[in-house]
Amino acid sequence: MAEEQAFNPLDPFSSINLGIAESADGVKQWAISNRDIIQPVKAFFNDIVVAIDTGLNAVPPLIMLIILTLIAWQAAGRRTAILVGACLVALGLLSPDAWSLAMTTLAIVVSSVIACFVIGLPLGILAAKSNTFEGFLRPVLDLMQTIPAFVYLVPVVMLVGIGNVSGVIVTIVFALPPLIRLTSLGIRGVNPSVVEAARAFGANSRQILFKVELPLATPTILAGVNQTIMLALSMVVIASMISVKGLGNEVLRAMGRLDAGNAIVGGLGIVILAIVLDRISQGMGQSGRERGVRHWYDAGPIAPLVRMLRPKSETEPATPVGLATNK
């Protein structure tokens, strides 16, 4: 190469070209030649996202508002329910189509968070169990959190094209790390003497995980879910650059046209959605006992329902253990 002749010891880097950018570009070639495999997978996940989207949009706004408020009441108490209800009314009043855009955004966020949970929980458990794995994972997570989204936006579009699925992938890259970190932290933070006691009474490692570690780590894991939801929401504007619909797209379009009014409407919509999701998911992190009742189903709107369904005799069945308690 011609540049190598002009090697300058004081400025060695400008004359060396390792060709990293070119080889990274090879991803594109690979994606093009493997289109047949990637496209069906993409279509499958796209269908899921679209199904969630149409599902959320099919519910009349008022019904959806009531459902979300009830969920908030159940998860976090009456006070939060009132806040969530007010926020949702405000969201609907922002503009005539704000509600349906918000539901589309919600669909993307829900899909991303479900995907993060499915990927992040096992990885977090592995990271908690193995120092080697955690040592390997930690820099990867750091990278995922710090690398600018625009850097992986293009390769992802090269691989799977624009649309919902790329949006979800991009969101996962950004939103996954806190869930993995907090799952690992939660499990590592479980009192070792309780784990030892479980071993001493004959539990195997699977039983220790499901009967002791995960239930005790649940508040921390749910804090991770909360963080993941928040980060997923913060990605919606960037994701809209690769043709993801919803509130983010409104903001992006308004920015392009210097339309401050619409940008503010879209932005406020995202903020309100964030408040709603944050309060609900934070409430889930609290067990019923922290709110002064014995079980989560002894308070909130479903308590009367449960009381009605339960037989009079006070022989209550063993409470379900594990994450189910908080769902």
């Binding site: 009192n191 003497s193 309780v194 030892e196 006691a197 479980a198 071993r199 001493a200 009474f201 004959g202 539990a203 195997n204 039983q207 009967k211 002791v212 239930p215 005790l216 006992r289 014995r294 209550e316 069945p317 063993a318 409470t319 253990v321 308690t325």
Partner: protein, 355 residues
């Protein structure tokens, strides 16, 4: 110890535990060169937890291991259910070498044969008392109804009826440890491992729980390995006591043996403050009849009488009522004499029959 190995429910044979990456090398060095704990730490960066522990516990016995913190007693007890693997040596449970058993057998052994109580209770905070007590049954896959019944039985045995549906943090420390005890006995194991179970409790509750435990243990005839740092507790509870120091079992014997003939200065220091009134018997401090008559003349029938097994406490009561020495008799036949001086020396701990 004159114990038939068939009777031994728990038997440890030359158990060594060295912590550290170079435990094997360190073990060889310590066995061939007899390095001290500090030398091992400096040369191999290893910590000696247990050093050549050999003992056995007979069926129904309560064997106390007493030592200060850091003496390796908690490490030693965890070898019995293999929560810790020995660096070398063998542990036998009812004649079976448990170093050889598979993981599956080991879990069955832990769930069904060995109950354990921990110093910090180690109850599961997300489970009710009932679910905590039923844990060992649950991991064995017993039906809910069956394990609830057995758990309720254990809860009744520790007198916690009515608290089944409470969570551990709703209970006082003493009650929590009773849950710990109930959890340990729920599966009706033949062996109980008690790792300083009452140390974290205040003195009054501790005493109540000791009584409760001794009553339960006498009733259920469990072979018990009991760890404590409290010599009073060891003497109160133990049929036999082992004193542990720096990972070594310094002395093993009955409470009376330990108090009256400590093996070294370390043990002697320990027992110095212990009240001998209930521990030492007349037989230990009496002067033989021949020696006494040679010195002081013949015995008198008016003198009070005692049995060799009577404690110093009872001798004191007898002695207060009279100026005379006490005659120690078995079946009406005089064996020896306890003078007031001998009695006072006995209370002080200078036990050996007077000069």
């Amino acid at each position: 110890m004159s114990m038939n190995s068939d009777d031994a429910v728990i038997r440890c044979d030359g158990v060594w535990k060295i912590f550290g990456n170079r435990a094997r090398e360190a073990l060889e060095a310590v066995q061939s060169k007899g390095l001290s704990k500090d030398e091992i730490r400096d040369q191999y960066d290893c910590v000696v937890g247990v050093r050549d522990a050999t003992f056995s516990v007979g069926r129904g016995q309560i064997f106390c291991i007493m030592g200060l913190s850091g003496s390796g007693k908690s490490t030693l007890i965890r070898h019995v259910n293999r929560l810790i693997e020995p660096t070398s040596g063998a542990i036998f449970i009812e004649g079976q070498n448990i170093n050889g058993v598979s993981n599956r057998e080991l879990r069955a052994l832990r769930a069904e044969k060995i109950g354990m109580v921990f110093q910090n209770m180690a109850l599961m905070p997300h489970r009710t008392v009932l679910e905590n007590v039923a844990f060992s049954q649950e991991v064995r896959g017993h039906a809910t109804k069956e394990r609830t019944e057995t758990a309720l039985r254990a809860i009744r045995a520790v007198e916690l009826n009515g608290w089944e549906q409470k969570y551990p943090d709703e209970l006082s420390g003493g009650m929590q440890q009773r849950v710990g005890l109930a959890r340990a006995i729920a599966a009706d194991p033949s062996i109980l491992l008690m790792d300083e179970p009452f140390s974290a409790l205040d003195p009054l509750i501790r005493r109540q729980l000791q009584d409760k435990f001794m009553a339960l243990s006498a009733e259920m005839k469990k072979t018990t390995l009991f760890i404590t740092h409290d010599l009073d507790e060891a003497i109160r509870i133990g049929d036999r006591i082992a004193i542990m120091k720096d990972g070594v079992l310094v002395q093993i014997g009955t409470p009376e043996d330990i108090v009256t003939s400590p093996a070294d200065d370390y043990v002697a220091d320990f027992v110095a403050g212990i009240s001998k009134l209930e521990l030492i018997s007349a037989g230990k401090i009496m002067e033989p009849v021949d020696a006494f008559t040679e010195r002081r003349g013949s015995l008198d029938d008016a003198w009070p009488e005692a049995h060799p097994d009577h404690s110093l406490n009872e001798l004191v009561d007898l002695s207060i009522a009279t100026q005379h020495p006490i005659i120690v008799k078995v079946d009406g036949k005089p064996l020896g004499v306890v003078t007031k001086n001998a009695l006072l020396r006995g209370i002080k701990g200078d036990s050996v029959a007077a000069e």
